[in-house]
């Protein structure tokens, strides 16, 4: 993993010292809220419906056992004993008091973490494939590049007051698990004639105007990355719209000017930025690559795994849904579900965090990942240890076998916490998961992603859910709008609106009708919901959602 340099540590310590002073002055009354608000936001501190919320970056979703334990310590000492993992590979603490936040930031600095640039019109925490450095299908680990981008963008003078926030995601695999096409910039490591480079995708985003990113270059040589990114951001900084907050994101710039015009402008700017870089970035990259070198794998028998797999149906079910192919022989990637049926998606108690930390330390080369799907991953575990890992997870409510299934729901905090929400999302997720668990249909249904947002900002990625749910306020009543056919992967697509919204009490039965219709419509047990939807289109699903409309027409 990347370790802070002396410079990094001093920088964070200084920022924390400044913020402590700012909090003191706010509490003493010498700073007004108007003066203080931008300062707290720069440090990841929001004011929500019922309390403050501190958002802490987990850079590219990678953390070690010590860092996870520190989250547990923070949750116990200054919060309510839990944390919420988010779609942006962050953790949010929902209940800190203002006066405790400087201590929390110091506790984070002790484990090389911070909350800078988790808010505001800056380049945000770079997100990455959560299976980075482990996946069997990967060309190269994207995290050294993610770290390079983080260092380049953190506190970069040109990028502190941009037209709007800017989000970058990166993957090293053909299979996109980082939703790179729904980011301002998406990067995919590609190989041409044995040379590594990047496909650069620009202008994706969700929110009120959802767009799938477009390819700006198919192959950018590795050494050109930072000057090229600087050129992209700089072109947008110059021609992006500042007159209207909703039109300021680069997706609108790309949409209004066209990808070809943007490509030309970027090329012209790149000719200048390239001169300024002179290759120092590549020596940094080499250092980061060393920091992310692969763990030393061992070659051991896997009998313990085979035995448990054939004798223990509960273990087998978990192994079938929660494991992913690892590149090293005898190893596996284990996803720990934070979606126990009926629980809040993405929440982990301090006790659960400590168990995950301990498992990572004892069996997982001390690595953990946060996925944008709001789960935690042990990226490098030997098959022989999995029965033991599963047994320990079971004891603490973390062994739910539902990865990629209907109850593995992404849900934003919605109106239970978020000041911007127009409706709740968490209870809808809880009810859907509970209902399909009762029906015992989850494994039969197979791969199906539901994603829920509590307002048009789309923090819950509803546009790219196979089934998307958007909570709105319709004349003072919570109303839930369904979109169908969204896709968050390399075949990214924005879902189609199915029709009028449903009330909070009618949305879960509507989802049930929809899914039962799919079970009738699919050609075989292997045809996923998305495949059936792509084959048949909206009509049969719409009929299932709105049976009254059909009755009227008849």
């Amino acid at each position: 993993m990347y370790k802070y340099s002396d410079f990094d540590a001093a920088f964070i310590a200084e920022r924390n010292r400044q913020f402590r002073g700012q909090v003191d002055r706010r509490v003493a009354g010498s700073l007004t809220e108007d003066e203080f608000k931008p300062l707290r936001l720069m440090n990841g501190l929001y004011l929500q419906l019922h309390a403050y919320m501190l958002r802490v970056a987990v850079p590219y979703g990678t953390l070690n056992g010590t860092q996870m334990r520190q989250f547990a310590h923070i949750a116990d000492t200054w919060d309510k004993g839990y944390g919420h993992f988010t779609t942006r590979q962050n953790i949010q603490f929902n209940w800190p008091t203002l006066s405790d936040v400087p201590d929390i930031l110091d506790a984070l600095a002790d484990v090389q973490m911070h909350a800078i640039q988790t808010s505001g019109n800056t380049i945000r925490n770079v997100t990455a494939d959560h299976f980075a450095g482990a996946a069997a299908d990967e060309i190269a680990d994207p995290r050294p590049v993610a770290e390079l981008i983080r260092q380049w963008s953190t506190d970069h003078p040109e990028f502190q007051f941009m037209p709007r926030k800017f989000k970058v995601a990166i993957t090293g695999s053909e299979n996109d698990r980082a939703v790179i096409k729904a980011h301002d910039i998406g990067l995919r490591i590609v190989e041409q004639n044995d040379v590594l480079g990047f496909e650069v995708i620009v202008g994706g985003g969700l929110g009120r105007t959802p767009m799938i990113g477009k390819t700006l270059v198919e192959f950018l040589p590795r050494e050109d990355l930072l000057p090229y990114l600087e050129a992209v951001v700089s072109v947008w900084n110059e021609i992006g719209r500042r007159d209207n907050k909703y039109k300021a994101r680069i997706k609108i710039t790309v949409h209004e000017h066209g990808i070809d015009a943007i490509r030309e402008l970027v090329a012209a700017r790149f000719a200048e930025t390239k001169q300024e870089f002179a290759g120092v970035d590549m020596s940094y990259l080499a250092q980061f690559e060393d920091a992310f070198s692969e763990p030393v794998y061992s070659n051991r028998p896997v009998d313990a795994y085979d035995l448990a797999y054939s004798n223990d149906p509960v273990f087998r079910s978990w192994a079938d849904t929660n494991l992913t192919a690892h590149r090293a022989e005898g190893y596996s990637i284990a996803t720990i579900s934070l979606k126990a049926h009926g629980q809040t998606p993405g929440d982990a108690t301090s006790e659960q965090m400590r168990v995950m930390a301990s498992l990572a330390e004892r069996f997982g080369h001390n690595e953990l990942r946060v996925s944008h799907e709001q789960n935690i991953i042990l990226p490098h575990v030997h098959l022989a240890e999995l029965p033991q890992i599963h047994a320990e997870l079971s004891q603490i409510g973390l062994a739910t076998a539902n990865i990629g299934l209907i109850s593995d729901i992404i849900a934003c905090p919605g109106m239970d916490y978020c000041a911007l929400a127009t409706a709740r999302s968490i209870p809808i997720a809880q009810e859907i998961a509970t209902r399909f668990d009762e029906l015992k249909l989850e494994h039969d249904i197979g791969h199906l992603q539901i994603k829920i947002s509590g307002c048009i900002n789309a923090c819950g990625h509803h546009h790219v859910g196979h089934i998307g749910i958007l909570g709105l306020d319709r004349a003072g009543v919570e109303s839930y709008q369904i979109t169908l056919g969204g896709d968050a992967t390399e075949t990214a697509a924005i879902g189609e609106r199915a029709g009028p919204g449903f009330s909070a009490t009618k949305i879960v039965p509507a989802i049930e009708r929809l899914v039962l219709a799919y079970l009738d419509l699919r050609q075989s047990d292997d045809e996923t919901f998305l495949e059936t939807y792509r084959r048949l289109g909206l009509a049969p699903f719409k009929a299932a959602l709105y049976p009254e409309a059909k009755a009227h027409a008849a």
Binding site: L47, K80, L98, M415, I426, E478
Partner: protein, 102 residues
């Protein structure tokens, strides 16, 4: 046609905890909506809002919120205000926690 005036309360979040607070008739902040003063006159409500907003050392984000007169004082008319006075629905945290202890 102008919308009819709805009774209001003054609400905000406490500076240190962020907890939802309401302005009482005595000009103090209370954590409990039942204690809130109901402002039935529009001009009066505006003046009280200006006064309350000046207390920025104790609270953040002061605004007027529509209410209805209930048997025990003000009742929210919008679900957002219902959640604000109650707390989140997934855990008994916030104000609900306080109530569980009394």
């Amino acid at each position: 046609m102008p919308r009819p005036y709805l009774p209001k309360v003054i609400t905000a979040n406490a500076l240190i905890e962020g907890d939802v607070v309401y302005m009482t008739a005595k000009g103090m902040w209370s954590r409990c909506m039942r204690d809130a003063e109901i402002l039935n006159d529009e001009a009066d409500a505006q003046i009280r809002l200006i006064d309350a907003s000046a207390q920025s050392d104790d609270v953040v984000g002061v605004y007027l919120s529509d209410v209805a007169q209930g048997p025990n004082g003000a009742e929210p008319v919008h679900f957002r205000e219902e959640f604000r006075r109650t707390g989140p629905s997934n855990y008994l945290h916030g104000k609900q926690e306080g109530q569980a202890h009394v």
